[in-house]
């Protein structure tokens, strides 16, 4: 089947009431203070998310049971203006060191605050395991099941 549909990157943009240096600092060093506890994978609940502030630094979830759930690592570290994280979580909600998708976050001054833009790209790389994706689609625990829950919350 030659239906190679390449998903567009997810792009987000918002302004926050702090200068870029502070916005960058809270996004990274303060990551654990704001990253939603629901945004996690693994067998134990998320205690806090962590970004290690250097190229090659790890990006992971510190879980309640004391274990660490890797999510990826820091690919670019350019405070206060730019950060690129590797997101290596597959459609089956598992860490896969061979999977690369990128999350780029930029911080630009805007008035007294900062315009933060986020791009999650290379999503097509998630499509390599087509069978796994299909299984995930069909199971209630997969993202189709999650989408259903969201849809029900919206209705």
């Amino acid at each position: 089947m030659s239906l190679a549909i390449k998903p567009a990157p997810v792009r987000k943009s918002l302004t926050v009431p702090a200068p870029p240096a502070r916005a960058f600092e809270v996004f990274t060093a303060g990551f654990g203070s704001w990253w939603p506890k629901s945004h996690s994978i693994g067998d134990s609940p998320l205690k806090q998310g962590v970004i290690e502030g250097r190229v090659g630094g790890r990006w992971y979830g510190a879980l309640e049971d004391g274990s660490e759930q890797p999510w990826g690592e820091v690919l670019a570290w350019e405070p206060p203006s730019r950060l690129v994280l590797a997101w290596r979580i597959s459609t089956a909600w598992a860490y896969d060191p061979d999977l690369l998708t990128e999350v780029e976050v930029t911080f630009a001054p805007e008035g007294a605050g900062t315009r933060v833009t986020l791009e999650h790209r290379l999503l097509e790389n998630m499509g390599d395991g087509a069978e796994g994706a299909r299984a995930s689609f069909e199971s209630d625990g997969g993202w189709m099941g999650l989408l259903r829950l969201y849809a029900e919350a919206f209705s």
Partner: protein
């Protein structure tokens, strides 16, 4: 409306979820999708239009038939999910900085 919200709104309808589930096993024409569903073929076409607008299915012309498919890798819903995921994460980030800005105002009114 963001992509994510469109996708979730599209999936809020149980018939549309049924349509999408019928496409999980492979691309199909409208008539094939409508078979076994308790709605008319024109209604199925309308549902497909909504799913297409939400980015959950794609279509192509095959002679006189129009074939609908979900991304063979199923990435449409994944993308929709990520779209919502980042909305929530960035809202939380913004709320943290707003809380901080308010605290600064309280200290230095």
């Amino acid at each position: 409306m963001t992509y994510g919200n469109a996708a979730f709104a599209a999936l809020a309808d149980p018939t549309r979820r049924g349509v999408l589930e019928r496409l999980a096993s492979g691309p199909r024409a409208v008539g094939e999708i409508a078979e076994g569903l308790p709605v008319s073929r024109p209604a199925v076409s309308q549902h497909l239009k909504v799913l297409k607008a939400a980015g959950l299915v794609s279509d192509r012309q095959d002679g006189a038939r129009r074939i609908y498919a979900i991304d063979p890798n199923g990435l449409g819903p994944m993308r929709a999910w990520l779209d919502q995921f980042w909305d929530e994460a960035l809202e939380a980030f913004k709320a943290e900085l707003e809380r901080e800005a308010n605290e600064i105002k309280e200290i230095n009114p």
